[in-house]
Symmetry: none
DNA sequence: ACTTAACCGAGACGGTACGTCTGGTCTTACA
DNA sequence: TGTAAGACCAGACGTACCGTCTCGGTTAAGT
């Protein structure tokens, strides 16, 4: 989050930021999120559990939401990038979408859901969530999509942004709105439908 | 929301619920939602503006969220159903999706967005929003989709739920998550892509 | 409480007041007072327990306080007048003061205490308590005092109101203010002191 | 009331209590008491007028009552001790009782009355009022009474507590119960009566 | 028998204050 | 300067009662 610019002639004056404190805060924040979702997540609770002062939290994070997002990112994001590239970009893509579905089905998905909700009221939070969590995954997907396009598996003139939205959007709809299940069969049928449209022209 | 306790032998004892009060509360609630979104929306504010007691609100609505949803429904929903049926179900469908996009681009969309966010923390609220706002629109779309299928414009074996998700899901993703624009061009390209996959025949 | 003027030519039209209801209300009110003191005593609670409507209560009693006082009077007062007259007015007087002390030491005293407190904020309540509870006892005492004066046991020129105050006032002080015990010894010493002053002139 | 947590090795950590805030709260509280008595006295009103948060009030005062008593003490008590000692303890005593009567006749007396009433429901409040307001005055009176006893103006074997009760008790009775006037003549007659009983010798 | 009028239980109503809670800021002493 | 502690303001929360009101229905007396 907040950066500390190192001046060329050495380091800034005064006591340096305590990384120990930062880590304790993020850890405590993530624990609270896991234990009771966003309802249980209070800045006071985080400070108390981390043995930190509230002021320290507000010095480094702009709001409750940005702290929540960063705590989520630090704890969850690393475990989530795991789709390796194969010779078939379409197969890769299918695996990526299935992976996303798996995530949103689980505990982490519950958190993402609440973070997205939080982002509706606090644009700072939304911006951070999108740039640091959504965007990286989207970019990875875009790479795969471009590989597929180059390989001729996706029509050349197709807008890949639209294609990506068509593949991931329904997941969000089910997670956030209808709360319908996002099972394997649903994802497969969705992939069949959209990829069919992506490979051939309009009739 | 409102109880309906009409026993066969007459009505419930005691002073009946005041519909005047109910209307004033819903109106005040909707005004506050329009003026400042959910941030400004407080039960105290609604009570004060409606000239109602807080207890009256809590007597009839389970939570802030359900009040917000109902206020939204009463004020907005009636103005929103306007797609008439033509000979071409595909054309009808395109118009329905475009209409949805228009809604979510505007003021009402902002409200829906916040109500969905609210629903993440309060399942009661989500349930009400889905059943009374989302579901009716979805059902209208399903009718059109079935017409399209009967007319042969959509493959017979296609799961229409999946098709609906593929058409509307991306809108929610943009509204709730990425906050990307939902312009006419995007909707057209999305429709082209998904309907291409939905039509009969391969390649 | 409320009086019903009987017109000379018969009674008022309409349904007459239900004595059953009145009794149930007073009984419920007294029970609540006994069980939890004035803190537990709510008009809603009384109505619920009596199976009566709140409107019925407010039709016949001016306020919560007057209901409490009347409930107290109906239930407690009858048990409290028990000092018979003997040949010695001084002995009668001593017994009267001791009896008052006994009352204020006990459960009923706790109630009187709270009713007096209530009367500070609601003059209606205070007026009723004084006129219907305090005054009768005071008058009985005045009779005894006058007997004592006639018998020469109290100086002729003494203001008996002052004497009465000097005998009962300290009890109220201990009950309401200092919460010191009002034991038999204290009352005896008080009687000795004040009666000594009442029998002889200033030095 | 205010905590005093001075450890031997320095002071407590954290931001210290704001005396400015404390003073503003007590001042606002007293103003409200003066303006409308206890009926007007609400914690919300005090907080609003003092520019303080309600939580700050509840952090430092256990109840509405203790706040009211302390506000009263801070504002009123200092102005109330004014009886100087002369060569005649009996004359001093008469002046003390007259002074008390004067107080209870006036504005402050109205407040004390309501504070005593409040104390019936909240022992904490009563305790504070007695210890910080009643007791000091009582102790001053006891000193005078002992002087009178030493000087032979009061019988040696007399229980001075009883004597004090006999002198002040009737005032409380009139203030709290009968609401009869406490005029100069009444006090004089009371003093004559009780002091007659208190003096040495019989008849 | 019919009307009139006051009663009754039930319970919703506007209003007010309660005491709690949290967000975000500020103020200490110490490191 | 950073930090832990914790006080501070602000203001919404949901609850509890107050005293009033509005129903449908009941119970007399007078017609």
């Amino acid at each position: 989050m907040a950066k500390k610019k190192k001046s060329s002639s050495g380091r800034a004056p005064g006591r340096p930021r305590s990384d120990e404190s930062r880590a304790a805060i993020l850890k405590a924040a993530y624990q609270l999120l896991r234990e009771g979702g966003f309802a249980q997540f209070t800045v006071e609770g985080v400070a108390a559990r981390a043995g930190a002062g509230k002021a320290t939290i507000y010095r480094w994070w702009a709001s409750k939401g940005t702290l929540a997002v960063e705590a989520f990112l630090v704890a969850v994001a690393p475990q989530m990038d795991a789709v390796k590239e194969t010779a078939s970009p379409i197969a890769d893509l299918r695996r990526q979408v299935h992976l996303a579905a798996t995530i949103y089905r689980g505990r982490a998905g519950q958190l993402v859901r609440e973070l997205i909700a939080l982002g509706q009221a606090d644009s700072e939070t939304n911006k951070l969530l999108v740039s640091d969590f959504m965007q990286p995954r989207r970019l990875a997907a875009m790479v795969t999509l471009r590989r597929a396009q180059s390989a001729g598996a996706v029509r050349k003139e197709l807008d890949l942004e639209v294609l990506a939205d068509a593949l991931w959007g329904p997941i969000f709809q089910r997670v956030l709105v209808t709360h319908m299940p996002i099972d394997k069969g649903f994802i497969d049928r969705l992939l069949d439908l959209v990829l069919a449209g992506a490979t051939r022209g309009v009739r």
